[in-house]
Assembly symmetry: C2
Homo-oligomer: 338 residues x 2
């Protein structure tokens, strides 16, 4: 391993001079700079990250905490991982990925030992035990997802309530007056996935305002329960003219289910949903939908975290940022003549 001392010796300068060439924090004559840069190239020198972290008190690493739920559709988590990682790299940070089942303990460990400059919490629940841990280590953090208590913390999430209103409005605009809503499985609610009720409550409220009938259900996450549950919902409300699907497993299975019933979209049934672009492409889903925008969320989260780390004034006050949902019309809603 070649060190900065080796480079200095080879270039005939002091170690500090090499360091200044590296950082550009002081002016160095073109001549010596050339000599040093040549030495660096010849020796293949790369600064030691540990030493630099020790000296600067910055590791240029962000912690990313995931938790895997056996019951959840796996790609859902992955949607965030890639954008977070890519955004971090673009800002010069690497990602320490932590999947420890005890997330709170993991935060204390990587925080207290100064392995990371900041922490991204994925898949945050309503009462997330990791929050207290994050507050106790005095390191900047950012949440993707909305917990109950957001005091003094940066959090970012899709505005699920607004997403629900956008979808209900769209159906109402097209003349629909009786619709069925399929939410994620109920155990996601029990686990504290607040996006479930934020979407559901808002949909119910908006339908009520508009004088629509809305039948809310919790769906399933796996075949064959997914299929049978959808069939049941459709059987129970034959007069419903549209389906709002907020459930990945359900929407992925829906094309086949509807074909089985001989239903054509939007002729016999209108469908709107909420899913990510990648997910939709993976399954070639042909439905009008709000994008869950994992990409945007991940990138914005990292951006905000880095601003917070660098004490940028643009970071502003810590708080919640809700991302405005965007509707993509794929023609799966029929206009009903009245």
């Amino acid at each position: 391993m070649t060190t900065i001392g080796d480079v200095a010796r080879r270039a005939g300068v002091s170690r500090s001079t090499v360091s200044y060439v590296l950082s550009g924090k002081r002016t160095i004559s073109q001549e010596t700079r050339d000599r040093i840069e040549l030495a660096i190239r010849e020796l293949g020198f790369t600064p030691n990250a540990g030493a630099r972290a020790l000296a600067t008190a910055q590791t240029m690493v962000l912690g990313m905490l995931l938790q895997f739920h056996a019951d959840e559709f796996a790609p859902a988590m992955l949607q965030y991982v890639l954008p977070v990682s890519a955004a971090a790299r673009e800002l010069g940070y690497d990602i320490l990925m932590v999947t420890d089942p005890d997330g709170a303990a993991a935060i204390r460990r990587i925080g207290a030992s100064a392995m990371v400059d900041g922490i991204v919490l994925l898949d945050v629940t309503h009462q997330d035990p990791r929050l207290e841990s994050l507050r106790s280590v005095s390191k900047p953090g950012v949440l993707i997802g909305l917990p109950a208590d957001t005091r003094d913390i940066d959090a970012i999430d899709l505005d699920f309530a607004q997403a629900a209103r956008v979808l209900v409005d769209d159906l109402h605009d097209h003349g629909h007056r009786e619709v069925t809503l399929i939410s994620p499985p109920y155990h996601v609610v029990e686990r504290g996935g607040s996006y479930v009720w934020r979407f559901r409550d808002a949909a119910i409220a908006r339908a009520d305002e508009l004088g629509m009938r809305l039948h809310p259900y919790y769906g399933e996450s796996r075949p064959p329960a997914v299929q049978t549950s959808v069939h049941r919902f459709l059987d129970v409300h034959p007069s419903a003219t549209a389906l709002i699907v907020h459930n990945d497993a359900t929407i992925a299975a829906l094309p086949a289910i509807l074909r089985d019933r001989g239903l054509s979209v939007p002729r016999d049934l209108s469908v709107v949903s909420l899913y990510s672009r990648d997910f939709g492409e993976e399954f070639s889903l042909p439905y009008t939908a709000v994008e869950s925008a994992a990409d945007t969320l991940g990138r914005q989260a990292v951006g905000q975290l880095v601003r917070r780390i660098s004490r940028s004034p643009q970071a502003g006050q810590p708080g919640v940022r809700l991302v405005e949902p965007v509707l993509t019309d794929r023609g799966s809603v029929r206009s009903l003549s009245r």
Copy 2:
């Protein structure tokens, strides 16, 4: 941030004594040890990882390199991430996850700067440009997947050839003499996914040995192409009595496809496949299959890497380890009377 010096002062000892209590590398009297441990608890001291890395030349971090292929079924990658991460943690290591599109450059970066003690390469291709990079930084590495050149490198993968033979044999034992094979999409071959042809070539060879007719095809990765391709294969070979599916998108879609054609498994068609346990559960797949054992591969890879890092004699000579495939019989193969 409290340091080892703070602890030492509070306990009335020198810094080195605290360090020895932490590491246990020298005997410290019970009395002072108690005093020091108390001080550590009172101050909430955790050693600074950067400083420790600098002093010991060990970071206790492993690099994990992923590459995402837009065309590949996302969970496939995730299957490995979790076991790798979990196994590492159990051995005291954290994971630096790198998703840089230029993997070779990323390896040089994290290797040369001594951010990691070793490197796990996921989804290795036949001519993987990251290999040269891995060899150039002198850091232990382990591959999950099989490249063309495995000199002096630890690599681990499922024995796909053997898996193919196990499945062909199973069909042959049940009296099948004409079968169709659906491999992953052809562009996976072009990308250098050697598991495709290791499986395919072995299946063809074995069928030949056994005097069976085998029709090999490359499948698709997305709806609706997946569906139409399977329909075509079935139409072309109406006399084939069994399907060997080595293609995640196809096997996930198969239940619905067969239902559409009014085919019942195994009455009208026998099906064997190769997929991971998690994947099978996610889609409730009812087929006799070889497990792709991502869990085993991930754990063994990390184990081997850590042995290599610690220069354990049990690491043995660097080389390829192929994991024996395990067949799980789910009754999707019909016994044909002759």
